[in-house]
């Protein structure tokens, strides 16, 4: 396989790129200072005084960022300089938003910010552990099939636990808490897809028949795509988790397309997901009701305003500039998801359209940095892994933000970094650790010219 013919055109220069670590440090300073100001803002708005925990919070966030930065400097010196600051900023703002909602006496779960802070620290710890111990992302390639098994186990686990709020996506361990294995499965299954597609991509790409101007895959190559389709449908049916199945299927189609460079796969993917969506929407009442709410967002049920409507009112009331942090009424949304699924409504109401656009652009930037990492990566496994992780992140952002703003039907997923929820924040830190690792490898100065052609041959990456 001639790897470097496609990967090494413009994005890799042999001369050694600047490491950009100082850029990262400067941006990190903003990423810490902005949430601290936001924190002060909430305190002033709610109680008229600076919050007591402000110094501690600022120091804590600063410390996490500093440690992360130092370790990145040491272990991934050429990593992308934007990813860590943006993750820190989003995580910090998320903590402020959750703390702000903690100030409302009746928004469940009560007092969620300290827990979220702890999970964020665990997330950063995992992020650092990945950077320190995963010296090269290609090591993950060895675990392709183990990853598949692990992912299936993780995805299947929630079926054996009781449903929470209509969706079986939780594993509840009494006394410890609950976990959303889907968030971790997202990463692990990307590893599997990347490894699998790297091996099979030639077969998938080349052995096809031309029909009506498009290349149709062979029947036997349709096997895996159909298997994934069936799996996502199963998740949907048994766990009533619309978001996760959309996420996996979408991610698989994206990676398949990148691996094979065949547009026909996208066509198949769209057809299959449309068929699946229609099938499930007509047979599953949970999904059907979500679709109904989406089509009638302001409808009242028995004279009561629905959560969906409350979310729309929150966004609308925010207007252009928002009410200011701590001065909105997103608690009217009620229910148990104000701090998690609906956290964007608080952003929309209190920071306004301006704040929403800023947050969405931060996510957009993060996604594009991920895809840029894929472009820069020198090995196909790294490319596939990076685009898979970025694509999954993009789909998740779109599905959550689109669901909350009623662009698409609402699904039970959380906004990465912003929303309250331990599994999500930990998994996303790990996700970006892997991306940083790939980008470090990609931007690292090319190895010194090999002394002899024989030696160079051995450097070509093979699966």
């Amino acid at each position: 396989m001639s790897t470097n013919t496609t990967g090494g055109t413009s994005t890799v220069s042999a001369g050694g790129l600047p490491s950009r670590r100082n850029t990262e440090l400067a941006l990190l300073a903003f990423a810490v200072v902005i949430p601290v100001f936001a924190y002060a803002n909430v305190g002033l708005a709610k109680n008229g005084s600076l919050p007591a925990g402000m110094v501690g919070y600022g120091l804590g966030l600063g410390l996490l960022a500093a440690v992360a930065h130092l370790l990145v400097r040491k272990f991934a010196p050429y990593a992308d300089p934007l990813i860590l600051p943006i993750c820190t900023l989003l995580n910090g703002l998320g903590l402020v938003l959750i703390w702000r909602l903690d100030q409302e006496p009746r928004v469940e779960p009560l007092n969620a910010a300290p827990g979220q802070l702890m999970w964020s620290a665990v997330g950063v710890a995992l992020f650092l552990a990945v950077l320190v111990f995963l010296k090269d992302h290609r090591i993950l390639q060895r675990y392709t099939y183990i990853s598949m098994a692990a992912a299936i186990v993780l995805l299947a686990l929630p079926m054996f636990f009781p449903a929470v709020n209509g969706a079986k996506i939780w594993v509840t361990i009494p006394g410890v808490g609950s976990l959303q294995p889907g968030e971790f499965a997202k990463i692990i299954i990307t590893v599997f897809f990347a490894g699998y597609l790297m091996v099979k991509r030639d077969a998938l790409a080349l052995a096809s028949r031309r029909f009506l101007g498009i290349y149709l895959p062979r029947g036997r190559d349709l096997g895996p795509i159909l298997a994934i389709w069936a799996l996502s449908l199963l998740i949907l049916v048994f766990e009533t988790d619309l978001g996760t199945s959309l996420l996996f299927f979408g991610m698989f189609v994206v990676m398949l397309y990148v691996a094979t460079e065949r547009t026909s796969w996208i066509l198949f993917g769209l057809l299959l997901s449309a068929a699946g969506a229609v099938f499930v929407a007509s047979f599953n009442s949970h999904v059907a009701s979500r679709v109904h709410n989406w089509l009638n967002p302001l409808e009242t049920v028995n004279g009561n305003v629905t959560e969906t409507a409350q979310v729309m009112y929150a966004f609308g009331s925010g207007g252009l500039f928002g009410s200011g942090l701590g001065e909105g009424y997103s608690r009217f949304i009620g229910g148990i998801a104000v701090k998690s699924d609906y956290i964007l409504a608080t952003v929309g109401e209190e920071l306004g359209l301006t704040g929403m656009m800023a947050i969405l652009l931060l996510y957009g930037l993060l996604i594009e940095r991920g895809i840029r990492t894929a472009l820069a990566a020198r090995d196909p496994f790294g490319k596939l892994l990076a685009v898979g992780l970025s694509g999954a992140f993009a789909i998740q952002v779109f599905v959550v933000a689109g669901g909350v703003t009623a662009l698409i039907p609402l699904t039970g997923m959380t906004m990465p970094f912003l929303a309250q929820g331990g599994s999500s924040v930990i998994a996303n830190w790990a996700l970006f650790a892997i991306l940083l690792r790939i980008s470090d490898t990609a931007r690292r100065p090319a190895p010194a010219p090999a002394p002899s052609p024989d030696v160079e041959m051995t450097q070509v990456v093979r699966p």
């Binding site: 496609t6 990967g7 055109t9 994206v254 397309y257 990148v258 691996a259 460079e261 302001l298 009242t300 305003v305 409507a309 729309m312 009112y313 966004f315 609308g316 009331s317 925010g318 207007g319 252009l320 009424y329 009217f332 929309g348 306004g352 359209l353 929403m356 656009m357 969405l360 652009l361 996510y363 957009g364 996604i367 594009e368 895809i371 840029r372 894929a374 472009l375 196909p380 490319k383 596939l384 685009v387 970025s390 694509g391 993009a394 789909i395 952002v397 779109f398 933000a401 689109g402 703003t405 009623a406 662009l407």
Partner: protein, 483 residues
């Protein structure tokens, strides 16, 4: 692999762009609609975030605002002498909406009215909280109190008008309620609200404006006006109508209890003794169409907005015996107390009917925003005939059934009424009294009083006995206030 990667990058960009377009749509294009949606609780929060403007009577506010705690709604309505003023102010409840003046001028009192736009802009620029405007009424505090206290624990209503301008001076309705008690949104308020709604006596019904009663003998002044206007009858000319009067197309006859001198009576005598025969006969002779025409000139068959909506009083199209009965305020003839006050006022104002109103002006935080000017509704009868009718009504008070309405040193004209209820008068009747006081400078007050029923004995229920003293006190209060 880079070509598909770039396409994926574009695709992800499109996803983010779609989100950006969507939030712009929701938070910019749809924002106004969502912000002002009635079901958006923030609308109510904003509405109660500052003290509401007040309703003013004679320079003093009869309403107020108080700060609450433990609620999203910061300020709540309070009332001074709530039950006295409830038919005027109505309620402004956080949970149960608004009514009466609070309802009509809701936006003005809240401060969101377009007429306050300039003030709002200045408040916004200077950083002051939004301020509501005040509604200044025409009511007379003493007259209102006299009316309310006169009705006491009886069910009934009083409407008093300044005949020369149409300004409403008193508007009482009993049993009443205290709007303060249902102004909040607590459990306590809700209990009270449910109790008020379940009360068979309907305390929240504004009987002066929204309830119609058979006007009984008080309607005879309208029939008398029609008779005078027709030219076929006159104050001292024998009517040529026999007593007892045989109803057209019927074997039933009409007469009066105690056989007063009603046979072939003049209009003056007929009104003095409230002769059923004479006025039923006149109504029949003039015909249904003519009677409707005159009644409508006095304000019948249409809703009035004072600016609170008042129910339509009805003089219906009907057959001959029913029309004869309607001419003495029975059958399907129904009138609101306000309507009968308007009839009295028109007669007292030399035949000119003024449009009734109860809001003198709307005051913004910085200036008067709207001033009501008296307006003429029409001339139901000529000044000459009005003068004759005044003679007749003053005679009723001097020598007839309305002697309880007399006031020392002031000329009073009036008419009693006792409207029958139920089949064969089986329920206790409505006691009516309409009257006006006359001074050298014209008439300052016209009153209509109705008392629905009471625990008193049937034969004691007559307009003169129950209703006239209340009318007298209201007129006295207005006259005392002028001197």
């Amino acid at each position: 692999m880079n070509k598909p990667l770039r396409r994926i990058a574009v695709f992800c960009g499109i996803l983010i762009m779609a989100l950006l377009v969507r939030v712009n749509w929701v938070q910019f294009v749809q924002a106004d609609e969502l912000q002002s949606d009635d079901r958006n609780r923030r609308v109510a929060v904003e509405r109660y975030a500052h003290p509401r403007g007040d309703i003013i009577v004679e320079g003093k506010a009869v309403t107020g605002s108080t700060e609450t705690d433990g609620s999203d709604y910061q300020y709540k309505r309070t009332h001074k002498n709530g039950p006295v003023w409830a038919p005027v102010t109505g309620r402004a409840s956080q949970a149960f909406g608004t009514s009466m003046l609070e309802g009509v001028y809701d936006e003005f009192l809240t401060g969101t009215d377009d007429r306050l736009f300039f003030n709002r802009t200045i408040d916004m620029l200077t950083g002051k909280p939004m301020e509501g405007g005040n509604v200044v009424t025409t009511l007379n505090a003493e007259a209102q109190r006299a009316a309310f206290e006169g009705l006491g624990d009886k069910k009934g209503a009083v409407a008093a008008i300044d005949p020369q301008t149409g300004a409403i001076l008193a508007l009482a309705s009993t049993p009443s309620y205290d709007p303060s008690a249902i102004a909040g949104n607590s459990k306590e308020d809700e209990k009270k609200w449910v109790a008020l709604n379940d009360d068979p006596d309907k305390p929240m019904l504004n009987r002066a404006l929204r309830e119609t009663y058979p006007p009984g003998s008080t309607f005879k002044v309208v029939t008398a006006a029609a008779a005078l206007e027709s030219g076929r009858y006159d104050i001292d000319k024998p009517s040529g109508i026999e007593d007892p009067y045989q109803l057209p197309q019927s074997t039933d006859t009409l007469s009066n209890y105690g056989s007063p001198p009603c046979d072939d009576a003049t209009l003056k005598v007929a009104l003095q003794y409230s002769c059923n025969a004479t006025f039923a006969g006149i109504s029949h002779e003039l015909g249904n169409e003519k009677m409707i025409e005159v009644a409508e000139k006095f304000g019948y068959n249409t809703e009035h907005f004072v600016p609170i909506r008042s129910a339509e009083s009805v003089y219906p199209e009907d057959n001959q015996p029913q029309n004869a009965q309607a001419g003495i305020g029975q059958a399907s003839n129904r009138a609101t107390p306000l309507q009968m006050a308007m009839v009295t006022a028109a007669i007292a104002n030399d035949g000119k009917l003024m449009k009734p109103y109860m809001v003198d002006r709307l005051e913004g935080p910085r200036s008067v925003v709207e001033q009501t000017e008296p307006e003429e509704l029409g001339q139901p009868l000529s000044a000459t005939n009005a003068g004759k009718l005044q003679d007749m009504m003053e005679n009723v008070v001097e020598n007839g059934t309305g002697t309880n309405g007399r006031l020392d040193g002031v000329t009073v004209g009036g008419k009693t009424g006792t409207a029958q209820r139920g089949v064969d008068n089986s329920e206790s009747p409505y006691a009516w009294f309409i009257s006006y006081a006359m001074t050298d400078g014209g008439s300052p007050v016209a009153v209509a009083v109705v008392v629905e029923d009471s625990n008193a004995q049937r034969d004691e229920i007559s307009g003169g006995g129950l209703a006239a003293p209340i009318a007298k006190d209201v007129m006295r209060a207005v006259l005392d206030g002028r001197s």
